[in-house]
């Protein structure tokens, strides 16, 4: 298998990191693709939770919103939103939480609130949503974010969520993991090089001494992913 897109590489690589049996708090977009791919392949026992209140959702089609009716129909349980945040997220029941953002810094802090000054913003972004408490209440935070100097910045404009539990950042170029508290390039995707990654990072990017290369998506992974997206 040769041809695949950066998004496919990201989804496949994130999916691989979801253990069978993991309980995942999932948003829409790439995280939902990754989690559903994991469920369709090596992790049939993982549990998908959407913050709309659906626990154990088993969507056949990839949902377009976290509130898709199919999530409720296929869920083991549907709970109210206050219960979701109090008993399940804050209750410490979630293993893996996915986050995206407009900006990330070297500590894994994320900004999804505003570009520029809060009071007189250049761009008013949608806001933090579930991120502040997902970032602190789940065991492992996975960030999925395309790498660019506008997104990977020295100083984020607003701290929407803190980076303490960020275990991995999956980008279109490679994998960043915290080493001694700083996000460090630990793997490159096939075809990417360190210069690409450095150029796409707004801070002086550290590169791991044991820098590795990501397995490209296998034929099976790609087939499963494309089948999922074609539904």
């Amino acid at each position: 298998m040769t041809g695949y897109t950066p998004d496919e590489m990201m989804a496949v690589e994130a999916a691989r990191r979801i253990g069978d049996g993991a309980v995942c708090f999932v948003g829409i977009g790439l995280p939902s693709v990754a989690a559903n791919l994991a469920r369709a392949t090596h992790a049939p026992g993982c549990t998908l939770i959407y913050e709309s209140g659906t626990i154990g959702a088993k969507p056949y089609r990839l949902p377009l919103s976290i509130g898709d009716g199919e999530l409720a129909e296929t869920a083991d349980a549907v709970v109210s939103v206050p219960e979701m945040f109090a008993y399940w997220l804050q209750g410490g029941r979630i293993d893996v939480g996915f986050l995206g953002a407009a900006q990330i810094d070297r500590r894994g802090n994320l900004n999804s609130t505003v570009i520029g000054d809060y009071g007189t913003p250049k761009v008013r972004l949608p806001g933090a949503g579930g991120a502040p408490e997902i970032a602190t209440c789940v065991r492992d935070v996975f960030v999925m974010l395309r790498q660019s100097p506008r997104a990977f910045v020295e100083q984020i404009d607003f701290v929407s969520s803190v980076g303490d539990n960020v275990r991995v950042v999956v980008t279109d170029l490679g994998i960043l993991e915290p080493r001694e508290g700083e996000l460090t390039l630990t793997r490159l995707h096939p075809g990417a090089n360190v210069e690409d990654a450095r150029a796409a990072t707004g801070w002086e990017l550290r590169v791991a001494g044991d820098l590795g290369e990501t397995e490209p998506p296998t034929a099976d992974e790609l087939a499963a992913l494309r089948e999922l997206q074609a539904r």
Binding site: G53, A72, V78, V81, P126, G129, A131, T136, F158
Partner: protein, 270 residues
């Protein structure tokens, strides 16, 4: 006991200029018809509350109904920005919009506290974030362990408006599917309106059904299709294309204004 009335009548009686109003709905059963009625009746100076203000709030804001927004995520889900919200915040058009910004967990705790008649909700939240400085969050120490926790003021709006699938003729309401914070909104609000897909003779108990008794609701108004382009589980699906189309409509002030005229002001309430 809830009064069975029309949407126009209910909005006229319950919503007053300057009120704090929540048109809630978390990804499902979003009360679009009620929002449109508020625009038609030219309600002004509203302090709007909602966890996930999306297209209907973009419309209320763009139509000049709102002075303040309490929220945790304001976007067009899966599509991008709310251009009318951004225009109000970034350029003050058609009027400036004050933001009172929280996290989802904080908003959920504030709704639960309001429903429980407590003045504040407690959560493990906000720590280390910029919201801790910007949001109306204070800190309390656990009187047993000394742990520091976040406190948010309870939501107690003047009016809470939600959409549900069914009411019976006595005004008891049932909703099912994703149930969000709808029950909390009704209980936390001084006055409440539930719009429904249909009025039935008897509410049939359903798996996952949430029943809100008539005697905690002020008004029930039939509004078939009243959640569109959002969806009503068991009635119709989400109009995903509309959410995509909204991006272009809302991007431009004139296009938006024309859309509101054609689709809201010159339309008639259900």
């Amino acid at each position: 006991m809830a009064e069975l009335t029309t949407l126009a009548e209910a909005v006229r009686e319950l919503v007053r200029d300057g009120d704090t109003v929540a048109f809630e709905g978390f990804t499902h059963l979003i009360p679009h018809a009620a929002g449109h009625e508020a625009i038609r009746q030219a309600k002004r100076d509203l302090h709007l509350i909602r966890m996930t203000p999306d297209v209907i709030y973009d419309q209320l804001i763009g139509a000049g109904c709102a002075r303040k927004l309490t929220f945790s995520w304001g976007g067009n889900p899966g599509v991008g920005s709310l251009h009318r919200l951004r225009d109000a915040v970034e350029h003050g058009w058609p009027r400036p919009l004050e933001l009172d910004e929280h996290s989802h967990a904080g908003m959920a705790a504030a709704w639960a506290a309001g429903a429980a008649n407590l003045p504040f909700g407690v959560l493990r939240g906000y720590a280390g974030t910029g919201l801790a400085e910007r949001a109306n969050v204070r800190w309390i120490d656990c009187p047993f362990t000394g742990e520091r926790l976040a406190a948010v003021p309870a939501h107690r709006p003047d009016v809470g408006i939600v959409h549900a699938q069914q009411a019976d003729r006595a005004g008891n309401v049932q909703l099912w599917g994703i149930v969000g914070v709808q029950k909390e909104v009704v209980l936390a609000s001084a006055r409440s309106l539930v719009t429904v897909e249909e009025v039935v003779d008897e509410l049939e108990p359903r798996p996952g059904g949430v029943v809100i008794p008539s005697w905690v609701i002020d008004a029930v108004a039939p509004a078939p299709g009243g959640a569109r382009p959002s969806y009503a589980h068991g009635y119709y699906d989400r109009d995903n294309d509309f959410y995509v189309r909204w991006d272009a409509i809302a991007r431009d002030r004139e296009t938006f204004t024309r859309w509101i005229e054609d689709n809201v002001l010159n339309a008639v309430a259900a």
